[in-house]
Point group: C2
Chain length 597, copies 2
Amino acid sequence: MILEQIHDPQDLKKLTNEELHTLVDEAREALLQKVSRHGGHNGPNLGVAEMTVALHYVFDSPKDKIIFDVSHQSYFHKMLTGRAQAFIDPAHYDDVSGYTNSKESEHDLFTVGHTSTSLALASGVAKARDLKGEDDNVVAIIGDGSLSGGLAYEGLNNIIELGTNTIVIVNDNDQSIAENHGGLYRNLRELRASNGQVENNFFKALGFEYHYLDNGNDLDALIALFQQVKDTDHPVLLHIHTIKGKGFKFAEENREKFHAGGPFSLETGEYLSAGNKKDTYNSVTTEYLMKKMAADPTIVAVNAGTPMVLFNQEQRAKVGKQFVDVGIAEQQAATMLAGLAKNGVKPVWAVTSTFMQRSFDQISHDLALNDLPGTILVYGASVHGMNDESHIGIFDIPFMSHIPNVVYLAPTNKEEYLAMLDWSLEQTDHPVAIRVPVGALKETGVADTTDYSQLYKNQVTKVGSKVALVGVGNFYSLAEEIAKELDAKYEIQATIINPKFISGLDTDLLDHLTDDHQLVVTLEDGIVDGGYGQTIASYLGNTDVRVQNYGLEKAFHDRYNAAELLQENGVTVENITEQIVKALKGKHVLSANESTR
Amino acid sequence: MILEQIHDPQDLKKLTNEELHTLVDEAREALLQKVSRHGGHNGPNLGVAEMTVALHYVFDSPKDKIIFDVSHQSYFHKMLTGRAQAFIDPAHYDDVSGYTNSKESEHDLFTVGHTSTSLALASGVAKARDLKGEDDNVVAIIGDGSLSGGLAYEGLNNIIELGTNTIVIVNDNDQSIAENHGGLYRNLRELRASNGQVENNFFKALGFEYHYLDNGNDLDALIALFQQVKDTDHPVLLHIHTIKGKGFKFAEENREKFHAGGPFSLETGEYLSAGNKKDTYNSVTTEYLMKKMAADPTIVAVNAGTPMVLFNQEQRAKVGKQFVDVGIAEQQAATMLAGLAKNGVKPVWAVTSTFMQRSFDQISHDLALNDLPGTILVYGASVHGMNDESHIGIFDIPFMSHIPNVVYLAPTNKEEYLAMLDWSLEQTDHPVAIRVPVGALKETGVADTTDYSQLYKNQVTKVGSKVALVGVGNFYSLAEEIAKELDAKYEIQATIINPKFISGLDTDLLDHLTDDHQLVVTLEDGIVDGGYGQTIASYLGNTDVRVQNYGLEKAFHDRYNAAELLQENGVTVENITEQIVKALKGKHVLSANESTR
């Protein structure tokens, strides 16, 4: 097997053309074996087998700098840069991350996972090279989908401004995560249809030397093209048309299904987990919105490049004009929400926590400053969300809850969640964000009739004394468990609070608590710093009530086991119970006897 | 005076062509009188007198929706929509804000002040119109400079995707705040040079019906063009070439100087405050960097469209290739910083607090996740910074200090600031942001020799007991004043702490404080929620030490008087002293006698 002999890109240079072709086949087969058993980004990688081999054959990484956008298409790159074992040997599948990672290899310049960053990164790398008087090539590979993000456009502009060697490869497989949306994609279509010859050319208009390659899965053509532009003294853009999912017919036939996913059958092209038909927070959201939208033509769902979070292809066809996919362009989504709300319709934007942060200024300056009633559904905001350091969703409370006017809600079960969503869509006072619960669907079976227009009113679900447990959203159940433990082990009847709102405090309740509580414990599913609990610690700071804030340490936690991470951060029933008892002893509320029974 | 008779855009429709021309002259004269006495955005407005009159003559605001990008060029729009008095009568100059403001008029759809948002806003407004089945025109006016921001590109893409009536007016005066940078600007130049006929056309490539007007200060031509495209059923882009500063020769001759500024002489074109030659935090930054960059060719200063914050035109010529202006594109700046740092040079980015928030994800995901040593100088982060609600800089601590790996520093004087900056440029471990002090330059005359690589080590500047005052950055002097008052009035010797670091705690120090302090008071120049003080309240929450956090309420404070706003928020020497004494009495540390002398 040739692939096993490739320990460094330099090893490629010694191969014959025939061996290079064999290498492509081996690599693609290894990839198919791995992703079908292990899951991962299947389609995007299958399409770039030839391109990646050609890149490493022609350029000299790490002297030449190769930068992948998002980098979910870097699996072949990893195989060719000393990490083939992680794709050949199942025991080593988890040795590598799903993205480039600078801690993994000197061939991975950056740890990335968000979209549209490669060109700006490349412009910085190229500028540094120029300042140092060096002469390596800077190569950025960006998919057509990633070109929908404004940062990609800013990068294109700045690469031209620098005017020196930067080779931009547009890997155009005519597909984003789902289908593409936006004016640019008409131009890409025209360019593909005309073999790059059509008069209107977005890239040429920005000043690029432009080359089109229609068969982007032709290894020899790719090598020739790369050799032609290597060591250029000015910016060059290679528009390369590839087949997403190339070499696996089910992936070629359904590009949305095979963007990424868990293990699947190589024979049938079916995902192995497809049989799971249980309701989830995602499915009840979809169900609710489909019904609501059918009844109210002024409700419009917005999404930025991940429509399947809300609607599958069939459902999108059904909701029609009441759904907008803006491309992978979270800034546009947030600001468009402001425009929609201002002109009297009811927009709801579904976005993953880690990507929502791409629109901080738009949420603040456009939506919140204008205090417009857009609804934001925040997915995956939990230690139990995506766990790659580039995708973790635990920073949203510090990020979102301190923006003035934004009402940020943290439901704890299905009924509460849907009641909040319904209230949010119908109210006209404020932007509202809802932290969609993460984990198995919890149903109470009882409709939630809370009046959410009474902002910042918390719910006391159990009245106790001495200690109050504030369980935010996903961590409400943790509060219940701790209360049980306190009762069982120490006969302490803790107060339990479901705050519901995390962008402001129920100061009446907190003032009352000081009467007969010595300790308030906050539990939140995110980092502690800048979080909800700290606003309580601050509010009660000038009283004799002690406050303990639990959550995660501020860090880019990477590919962690959630249970272990929580334990490391002291977020366990056992530890918190112990800390509570210790504190109450310190306050002389519990005698030594009581606290050690 | 015709201008005085315009109370509503409908009044324009009754004017003869000759009267319209007279109105343009009157409006421009009124504007010149006002901005020369009052200050404001002079050049951008002078260029759009004709365009604004034509807009309101042809379109029917507020039925037709007119959206200004940044909206610093909306002065004529305000004159024509019932607010002429604010431009004619000096006593009413402050009746209107410097930007569109939805609280001011139904003709101002949005309160805005940041760049590149108009097209995304327009896309939302247009989509809502379509959903409601209405037929008004949606018109967005965006300057050439604003097209450098990625959100503008996302907006263009989405307007085409919608495919219905949206009229985008590119007001091209061949100037951003300073000169333009980026590939797009070559295309705009070619388009201007060819009367819109050159083959490569950025806007046509994206799918727009494109019209070029070379004399964008020709009222009749503007009216004809607007009439031609009014009620279009598809997106149209009007590329209109105007003269920035039109009608005031000094402004036409120096477009950077006359972007905005304080009062100036109509006779000489000199700003009246130009005589002020005192050193400022800006000037010492410039001086330091010019010297440092001359000695070290690997230092590179980055800026996003506001180069004058660092260097004037002459200084930019001097630093040459060691300065990069990326356009009004903060995302690009932050991500480019990551690329520069990764490839071994020393980048420093100067950015205003309010605009820094446009790059949250880039600072987090590109710079911080990769833990790269870029330096960010954060300007105007203070209650004493810009005070329009769209430009306030008081949200940076919650925003910045909870991003993992970022070291956020708050210097209190010149020597400390420059020592931090020098350390930051030379270290290679982390991204570092420095909150550039706001206000008059404070000099100690003694070089700061602190070793800042000892992260999170606070400086205790006065050892006392009972109460510790933590004065963050600009508010350090407030801590000193309160300490004086406590001594003078109550003979309390407070401990004074200069934390220096605001992204992490000096836990050793805080642990020690608990020995002989009953109260820790934090003072920060920003909002309290999510701020530095709350991290201390949280850390000390489980002790008997009380904590009081002072700062501003979370809100979009607008055109406030800083002293009044601080007073409203209890941030005065008097109030804080009183609250401290009250708390110490509550802790029985002070007897009733002591505390009332």
